[in-house]
């Protein structure tokens, strides 16, 4: 995969050099096939600099944070809190204290859903209130709200999806109403690739006094994200999709809103003072970080966002768009293949889900895998969106900053081979 024949406008400069940053990309799989990793929307690969930062932490600076006052403790705290600074800068957050570390994006969403149930005052979600999501959400942005609404007697509503894979905003005036307390939606769909008009929806939600959460799990990896410009009250993403490690996610929240929320999990680090009778809680961000936080993970995540920032998120976005355009063109040549979601690269992120007539996604991905091509088959944790399009599951290719046009060629070839293998089409 090192010699690229195609050059596409927007492709990252020095793509070979970037690929060299990722040790796994030089792996050889069964039967000597080089790895063609097209499953980055599921999890991204990690550059050496992230791995090295974690190793350096574990080998030289490991200690608990905050509570440990010795030299290692100070170093470890600097590494951990440095990760917070880097994430805050990466998101253009007004304050580092608005950045809360969770275990993943899912926990971040649950944190908000749970604390809104226990909140007292205007933020509390209860009987008669409405929570608005969309039909294209990842399960992680559906189930927490189902649990919240079931448990509090609130009502869950949702935007539908148009045939083109866009949010159906035709009933927005009805859906966003004075009972709406929360609007939670994905910025970029992990299945359809759709990029949603989040700032406009946030503006409408704020008109009725609702709080807005953006699931940016697929947005932060792929495009410049400015939480202030987003208009949202909460933005969540997950470390492992932005070239960082698993075990860490981020909840950014506006200070005024975070400060009104009660604690989520109880434990060490989130308290001001504890007696057996009663406890008081720390301020943000620590109030929401019970127990020993993901220390080495924050170090890794800090290195990851620095790595992305150095490449430049505008450049990453341009690369994704170039690869996506090239992939959409390539997939269009495969007869019997239907892409789900918007057909224009400009309107979408780098995840492309598709069906091939007569061949089940499991079987497609199995044949591709036998050629070293890693894609995802299934419902991609978006069952309702699949149902909307009358399919049980789909095959999804997803690119990232290290994806080459040659890898897309390999995918297209692999799909033709798959069809032959199953004698379809």
């Amino acid at each position: 995969m090192t010699v690229e024949t195609v050059h596409l406008p927007g492709l990252l400069d020095g793509l070979d050099v970037i690929r060299d940053d990722f040790p796994i990309l030089s792996r050889t799989l069964a039967d000597g096939h080089p790895l063609v990793y097209l499953d980055s929307a599921n999890t991204s690969q990690k550059p050496q600099v992230v791995i090295d930062a974690m190793v350096d932490h574990l080998e030289r600076h490991n200690a608990n944070v905050a509570r440990a006052m010795h030299q290692l403790g100070a170093e470890s705290t600097a590494g951990f809190e440095g990760g917070r600074d880097k994430v805050a800068a990466f998101l253009n957050a007004p304050s580092r204290e608005e950045v809360i570390f969770t275990k993943n994006a899912s926990e971040a969403i649950n944190l908000v859903a749970n604390t809104l149930a226990w909140a007292r005052g205007p933020l509390q979600v209860g009987e008669g209130d409405e929570v608005l999501v969309t039909e294209m959400e990842h399960h992680s942005n559906i189930v927490p709200w189902q649990l919240l609404t079931e448990r509090t007697g609130a009502r869950l509503r949702w935007f539908g999806i148009t045939d083109d894979g866009l949010l159906d905003l035709s009933d927005i005036d009805e859906l966003i109403n004075e009972r709406t307390k929360v609007v939670s939606l994905t910025w970029v769909s992990n299945m359809l690739g759709t990029v949603n008009p989040v700032a406009e929806i946030a503006r409408r939600a704020h008109e009725v006094g609702a709080v807005v959460l953006l699931d940016a799990a697929q947005a932060v990896p792929q495009m410049p994200v400015d939480v202030q410009a987003s208009g949202a009250d909460f933005v969540v993403f997950t470390g492992h999709k932005v070239t960082g490690p698993t075990g860490i996610g981020v909840l950014w929240g506006r200070r005024e809103v975070l400060e009104q929320l009660p604690p989520f999990l109880g434990g060490g680090e989130m308290i001001a003072t504890v007696s057996m009778e009663r406890s008081t809680y720390a301020g943000i961000p620590h109030r929401f970080e019970a127990g020993t936080p993901p220390i080495v993970e924050a170090v890794g995540l800090g290195a990851a966002v620095d790595y992305l920032a150095a490449i430049g998120m505008h450049n990453v976005r341009a690369h994704e768009e170039a690869i996506t355009r090239y992939a959409l063109e390539g997939l269009a040549t495969v007869s019997g293949l239907t892409v789900l979601g918007p057909q224009q690269a400009e309107q979408r992120g780098g995840a492309i889900s598709f069906e091939i007539e007569g061949i089940h996604p499991h079987d497609v991905s199995q044949v591709l895998d036998s050629r070293g091509i890693a894609v995802r088959a299934g419902h991609h944790c978006a069952k309702p969106a699949h149902k909307r399009f009358g399919v049980q599951s789909s095959t999804r290719m997803s690119s990232y900053l290290y994806t080459t046009p040659g890898e897309i060629d390999a995918l297209v070839d692999g799909l033709e081979y798959t069809k032959k293998y199953f004698r379809a089409g």
Binding site: H360, D363, Q366, S370, H379
Partner: protein
């Protein structure tokens, strides 16, 4: 990676022409199982006659959505259990389970498993074992419900573990 070891002709044949497909009456239990990873589903009905040691699997009917492996497995399973005594059918089930969980290290017994020996290759693909087991687990579940004396109400969706 030996794709042909996975996609044996027998499997592809059953996939293209599944046996005993469709939902039929009578039945004493109907279950609905899903593979949570991919969303594949099967609705499956079991009709037993007799009881205790005399119980016989009279019919197994199903409506399945899924990949070649899961569809073929349903078809092969019905061939193997329909008409058998429940005791024998459960023994076949056990034997298939052992094969599937053996990570490729178990030698299948053709006398017991017949066409199902074609699934020996599947055991080497951990991600596909669940596909092969989906309808087998559904059959076991439905059968257990009948034996436990439950009536023919469609059950809650169960994932196949």
């Amino acid at each position: 990676m030996d794709l042909d070891a996975l996609y044996q002709e027998i499997i592809l044949d059953h996939y293209k022409n599944p046996h005993h497909a469709g939902l039929r009456d009578p039945f004493e239990a109907e279950v609905h199982h899903v593979n949570p990873t991919c969303g594949d589903e099967v609705t499956l009905r079991v009709h037993l006659s007799g009881a205790g040691a005399d119980a016989v699997v009279e019919d197994v009917s199903y409506d399945a959505e899924g990949c070649s492996i899961s569809q073929a497995a349903a078809s092969v399973m019905t061939d193997l259990v329909i008409g058998r005594s429940l005791t024998d059918a459960l023994a076949v089930h056990e034997s298939f389970l052992t094969l599937m969980q053996g990570r490729g290290g178990v030698e299948p017994d053709e006398d017991v498993l017949e066409d199902a020996i074609a699934f020996a290759g599947v055991a080497k693909f951990p991600a596909r074992v669940k596909c092969a087991l989906l309808s087998w687990m559904a059959w076991k579940d439905a059968t257990a419900r009948i034996v436990a004396g439950e009536t023919a109400v469609p059950t809650e969706t169960e994932e196949t573990r």
